[in-house]
């Protein structure tokens, strides 16, 4: 019997009295062949969520199964591309349909006509297992694509192609499995997006994801293979922070998922990345970037899938031995898509209308990040940085709270900092990173022995300031003793001169770890000298007037990243200023003593 649509409600369609579909199977819905996925099966009806707009769909139109779960096509051609939530290339959709996205468009994920310059790395007779590399090709000028044996295949190679130009669907080698089955492998393979790609083992996390953003690298570091969340109300700079990380972090590959966000923002990423140079190779950034754009007005079910598509692509490149960073902007939109679908299914809602399985879905997603030993023995990592858009900027809402349980680095964006145009508006009192212990050995070995100690001192000063500000708010700063005023002044230097970072300044948009450390050192040096001066009776107001504090604030602009030796000069000048202040103070102190 032919399976036909029985009911339609928004993106949810049901089929009655059928047993032809499996759970999570991908199906084509209606005459137009809209892509859908089976999300509920019972004896009398099968429920399907449709990844495209269902306007115009009729009861009685056919539903066809594909026999496979919703899968991503993995192969060369992913890099530099921009896909929608279910891995359809938007560029080709635009070519076919013009500026507006139509429904029922069928395009293959990867260009099937393009020939790749392939080097085949297996020989007949070799025994291969899942994950083994069968062929490589330069996917872009900076990324070498390694086509691998699908994780569920192993056996002996009975035929292998010569090196040469092949498309993603040309056979590369034939493998005879132990069961005697013959399998033809191509450059591309398919993998169900909701299933994590298998790995051999998890590795210990120990390398930081260097972002060039001071507040992150120094105060709240993210590890390669780690997970971080960036929650913040609208206008606090989530997207801006995500963009900065995507541009500057030292991962080999960036997967940027715009999940239910603005169309113009995706265009901006696209434009900027074309112009930006990859700091390592000097080639355009797009050559190591994949964009997945499911903007807020694109179908909601595909928004739900976009996160999984993104992480599947990330895992695929991880399997090749790359360090991959995935930015998901924003996971709240994904959670809301879950809520929307759940509402259409009339499931019993838990907190704020979100389905009860929200925490488990979040956990399963974030758990796919990690630093791993791949099936083929190489080491790779997937780091996930998810933006969270809490409703009403209230961090106690379910998505933020549940995300907090599964991430180890929490970079909370703060409205009042954003209002004061303190960017990145990461609030240092409520943010945290649990990666200190894992990463400290790296910092000590590669940046500086005192790095972690200095970070501790700086955090100490900031929290001291926080305490003092409570008093200042009540009675003003004039009544504080000079020893505390120094703390306030130096904390201001830390806030303005160190934590604030200007994404539009060429010296400041990216700062290497070494300069971060020099800056910290200079600030703490200033603090020590200022405390000494206070001890010698020099009033803090005199220090401010002399410009002792302001001098350091502009260091971030004035010293280029490649001239750390200029810090020595700064410190000398600072010392000279201190000596001068001390000299001036001496007669005053003497007079005071005489007066007594």
């Amino acid at each position: 019997m032919k399976d036909t649509i029985y009911s339609i409600n928004g993106p949810v369609v049901t089929v009655r009295d059928t047993d032809s579909f499996g759970m999570m199977e991908m199906v084509y819905v209606g005459n137009a062949g809209l892509i859908g996925e089976v999300i509920h099966v019972s004896d009398d009806r099968t429920t399907i969520q449709v990844y495209e707009n269902t306007t115009g769909l009729s009861v009685g139109e056919p539903v066809k199964g594909t026999g496979a779960p919703l899968s991503a096509t993995l192969g060369p051609g992913i890099m530099e591309n921009i896909f929608d939530g279910i891995e359809r290339p938007l560029g080709e959709i635009a070519e076919k349909n013009g500026a507006f996205i139509a429904t029922g468009v069928h395009v293959s994920s990867l260009d099937e006509t393009r020939k790749w310059d392939v080097t085949v790395t297996v020989k007949p007779g070799a025994s291969v297992r899942g994950g083994d590399v069968i062929a490589t090709c330069p996917e872009t000028s900076i990324i070498t694509h390694k086509s691998m044996v699908p994780p569920d295949v192993s056996g002996t190679v009975i035929w292998a192609a010569e090196d040469g130009a092949y498309t993603v669907t040309d056979p590369i080698c034939k493998v005879k499995t132990p069961e005697g089955e013959e399998k033809t492998l191509c450059l591309a393979q398919r993998w169900p997006i909701r299933v994590p790609r298998p790995v051999q083992d998890r590795e210990v996390i120990g390398r930081p994801l260097i972002t060039g953003q001071r507040v992150i690298d120094t105060l709240f570091p993210i590890a390669k293979g780690g997970v971080a969340a960036i929650p913040g109300g609208f206008g606090t700079g989530k997207t801006m922070t995500q963009h900065q990380l995507a541009k500057w972090c030292d991962a080999d590959i960036i997967i940027y998922v715009g999940c239910g966000e603005r169309g113009n923002e995706m265009t901006q990423v696209l434009n900027e990345f074309r112009e930006l140079e990859d700091p390592k190779s000097g080639k355009p950034m797009t050559q190591r970037t994949v964009l997945i754009a499911n903007t807020s007005n694109m179908p909601v079910a595909a928004r739900e899938a976009s996160i999984y598509t993104g992480i599947t692509l990330a895992e695929y490149y991880r399997d090749m031995g790359y360090d991959v960073a995935m930015m998901a902007d924003s996971t709240s939109r994904w959670a809301e898509a879950l809520r929307e679908i759940s509402g259409r299914l009339e499931e019993m809602p838990a907190e704020e209308g979100f389905p009860a399985y929200l925490p488990s879905r979040l956990a399963a997603f974030y758990e796919r990040a990690g630093c791993v030993k791949n099936l083929n023995g190489s080491t790779g990592s997937v780091s996930v940085i998810g933006a969270v858009s809490p409703q009403g900027s209230d961090f106690s809402e379910p998505v933020t709270q549940n995300t907090k349980r599964f991430v180890r680095c929490f970079l909370a964006l703060d409205k009042s900092l954003a209002y004061a145009r303190h960017y990145p508006a990461i609030n240092w009192t409520i943010s945290y990173s649990e990666y200190y212990e894992d990463l400290d050995p790296y910092y000590i070995a590669n940046v500086g022995e005192d790095f972690c100690k200095m970070r501790g001192r700086m955090l100490g000063l900031l929290s001291e300031e926080n305490k003092l500000m409570e008093i200042v708010k009540l009675i003003g700063s004039d009544v504080l003793p000079d020893s505390q005023k120094v703390t306030l002044e130096v904390a201001r230097v830390i806030r303005v001169g160190f934590l604030q970072q200007n994404a539009f300044h060429k010296n400041d948009t990216y700062v290497p770890l070494s300069k971060q450390m020099w800056m910290m050192e200079a600030i703490l040096h200033l603090y020590d000298r200022a405390v000494e001066l206070v001890g010698a009776g020099v009033p803090v107001s005199a220090m401010s007037e002399a410009g002792l504090f302001d001098k350091l604030i502009k260091v971030k602009y004035e010293i280029p990243n490649d001239k750390p030796e200029m810090f020595g000069q700064y410190n000398q000048e600072l010392d000279a200023m201190c000596a001068e202040l001390l000299e001036k103070q001496k007669p005053l102190n003497a007079a005071k003593a005489e007066g007594k």
């Binding site: 029985y6 009911s7 339609i8 409600n9 009655r16 707009n53 269902t54 306007t55 115009g56 769909l57 009729s58 009861v59 938007l90 560029g91 635009a94 500026a99 507006f100 996205i101 139509a102 109300g233 609208f234 206008g235 239910g260 603005r262 169309g263 113009n264 995706m266 265009t267 901006q268 696209l270 754009a293 903007t295 807020s296 007005n297 909601v300 939109r333 929307e340 509402g343 009339e346 704020e352 209308g353 409703q391 009403g392 900027s393 209230d394 409205k415 209002y419 004061a420 145009r421 708010k473 009675i475 003003g476 700063s477 004039d478 539009f504 410009g547 302001d550 604030i553 502009k554 602009y557």
Partner: protein, 457 residues
Amino acid sequence: MAMEYLGLSDINGPLVAIDGVENASYEEMVEIKTKDGVRTGRVVALEGKRAVVQVFAGTNGLTLSGTSTRFTGEPMRLALAPEIVGRIFNGAGEPIDGLGPVFASRFDDINGSAINPVSRSYPRNYIRTGISSIDTLITLIRGQKLPIFSGSGMSHNKLAAQIVRQAKLSGEKTENFGIVFCAMGVTKDVAEYFRRSFEESGALSRVTMFLNLSSDPIIERILTPRCALTAAEYLAFEQNMHVLVVMTDMTSYAEALREFSSSKGEIPGRKGYPGYLYSDFASLYERAGVIEGREGSVTQIPILTMPNDDITHPIPDLTGYITEGQIVLDRYLDQQGIYPPISVLPSLSRLMKDGIGKGFTREDHADVSNQLFASYAKVSDARGLASVIGEEELSTTDKLYLDFGNHFEHEFLGQGADEDRTIDQSLDLGWRLLSILPREELERIDEKVLEQHYGKH
């Protein structure tokens, strides 16, 4: 061949159910004939042979037996022609100005389609509004969606009307500039205020109006912005016009949606609004933009009244997550008699950074704007302190901040409803105010720029 079905099976709020329907399609239009006339509706759910239809004009007076329903097989389409400019339509897109029907050159689905992100071109041409605070601090960019967050009783309408009157593109001809005005649930007075203000400025002939007033059918309100945006997209992308869409009041729209959702028996999200409010808003707001290779653009200024002035209410909250910034009005400033009462700290224009500066406005624009924001943020600290320890006890710097704050609010924010300031005037004024503060307090500005401007205006 369209079939007609006699009778209804169920009437509930704005929804009716019809049984025995064959081959109806989702979201198609239906015509329900009663003895008093024809009402239109839209299929909102299909289950087997039962179709649930949303009746735009409401179900008052409908009976189970006295109707016949025809399924048109088409989604709702709007009749479009270049001549729609200058016309007035009701919320469902039918002309109500007595000038007869539109001789349509095409009919477009009012739901529109998403613009493919790869086909968008990034908006970067600024629109001069002549309002200092907006031009300098929250610059409006062509193709942007920039809502006004207001509260009942504040001057959002006056502000929107002023923006429409004064909006200019530098060096552009005005012929290809159009306005689409979309009223949702506003009073007759408000609609009339806008009409008069367009008329006075001579813009009326360039305005296309879609009016769903507070007395009009509520369900029709859900269609109104879709009709207006379809018209705007047509004018922008087919007729090469730069279209400014003013939509007021989004709060009434969201309430209509909530009413519809609850009558459909959907599971509510926050504050009873449907779980898909975000997606629904997005399907409207994302229709702003510029498309590569086409000349026109759609810029949106949605206006919403925040219930109880609460910016965390779902309507402003979800709006802010979709739009590219927001202009927030402040009741305290309004009470001080400052017009426009724009609260600059929570206001933001996300697209401004690429549309200002050399070649667009003036080289020092970004510096002035950053510094004004940062300095004004310190004013509230100084004020807080002054209210505790008294103004006399403040340090000299804090006193200067108070002074700066007052001047900023009265001279920079405050301006006449007809005052049209150039960008140079606004920026120079900004420098004059910044020069009140000691030079070392201006830590956001490069030394060189300070040298050039500090104390020079």
